[in-house]
Symmetry: C2
Subunit: 235 residues, 2 copies
């Protein structure tokens, strides 16, 4: 945790917050905070800054909060991601939040196992928990938007063109395609497939909605690694 | 598992191998192999190719193996990595193997907890197991070399200069440094710090051995994510 994120409900006055949960435990056990110490904090959806520990006991901490810095810029990106397997999904949420992705669309794909859609890790509170871990890691205070699209074709035909419009549309896909471009400053819509990749029908349909395949070399990467590698290369 | 890796001990003739362990289970339960099916295989430390299933029962599989393709190229890189926490270490081994890193040096650092050096995940067999998972994922047959250096100063002063010689020496480090370069083709020696980063003394000493700090932006990434992001950007 490189940034302590404060929720609306933590504030007892405009510059005062009280913590009682895992963040209190973390302050005590990892940071070994004492009264008078200062920490980096952010308000979820708002500014970042610092907090001074005014009071600290086993049950709660009271902080004086100064919020005066903007969070880091997000990437100019919409990430369209075939739903990963549940264990991977949690880490992917952390990774996209840490890397500064502002919007993730989770879509179905032929090679996504149907059971993946039943995972409790897709509950809004579970998603938020993982996103917050990523923001705390990277020092950002703004939650990415996560959209769930359980049907591939209606999403790609009806809603994807409006997302892709005015952006560079790319699909990360192994094969004989142009290499993934580097160091872009324009907005991008990037689709990343499931383990085993998109099927040709899906590549065709994504292409008709403005997303062209690009490749990262012959190595097949796990979804989480592919997300990081593609983003690090694109921006 | 995108590539089935064969050990020396699996071969019963130059073109025949018998499997009995988790790879057999994987063939049956994930790939649902049948006699006559063909699979991608590689010989550890050797060529890659395909195998035909000649015989398959609950206890073992016999394969006819044709090895005629070189493994993918490795990156021109030595990665010097402050020892990550054990849970992260396992994933980092998979990631570096998958990304094509040929040599990893695990070093101590002021911010590496002493207890991390006690982890069973540093046993040679445990390291090999994770590296193989990464090779199976990425389709590569050549294990990276892993060197363990428990003392920072003697390694950096006495052995690092010979590694760095003739390479571009870089340290991934947040701060007011030049951005990490992109799309290199020259050999690189890259050092990545622990959670919390290198301390100034370590940055100085690495600099004297030829490694200059570069940064990836203001977001603080987990070690595994930083490794992937730096490699994707450098090469």
């Amino acid at each position: 945790m490189n940034l302590l994120l404060l929720e609306e409900a933590d504030f007892i006055a405009t510059d005062r917050a009280v913590l009682r949960d895992r963040r209190l435990t973390h302050m005590q056990e990892v940071h070994r905070c004492e009264v008078g110490d200062s920490m980096r904090v952010g308000r979820i959806g708002g500014l970042m800054g610092s907090a001074e520990v005014l009071r600290l006991d086993a049950g709660e901490a009271e902080l004086r909060v100064t919020l005066d810095q903007p969070p880091p810029a997000k990437l100019p990106l919409t990430l369209v991601l075939a739903l990963p397997r549940p264990k991977m999904l949690r880490r992917v949420f952390q990774t996209v939040a840490a890397m500064g992705v502002p919007r993730v669309v989770l879509v179905n794909s032929y090679r996504v196992e149907k059971s993946f859609w039943q995972t409790p890790f897709l509950e809004p509170e579970a998603i938020r928990e993982q996103l917050i871990l990523g923001l705390e890691q990277a020092r950002d205070s703004v939650l990415p938007e996560v959209v769930i699209e359980k049907r591939f074709k209606p999403f790609v035909e009806d809603r994807l063109p409006a997302i892709t419009d005015g952006t560079l549309g790319l699909v990360g896909h192994p094969g004989n395609y142009p290499p993934c471009p580097r160091a872009l400053s324009e907005p991008v819509t990037l689709a990343i497939g499931p383990e085993g990749g998109w099927i040709p029908y899906e590549i065709d349909l994504l292409g008709k909605s403005g997303l062209q395949p690009v490749q990262l070399g012959e190595r097949i990467l796990r979804v989480e690694t592919a997300v990081t590698a593609l983003l690090a290369r694109l921006f």
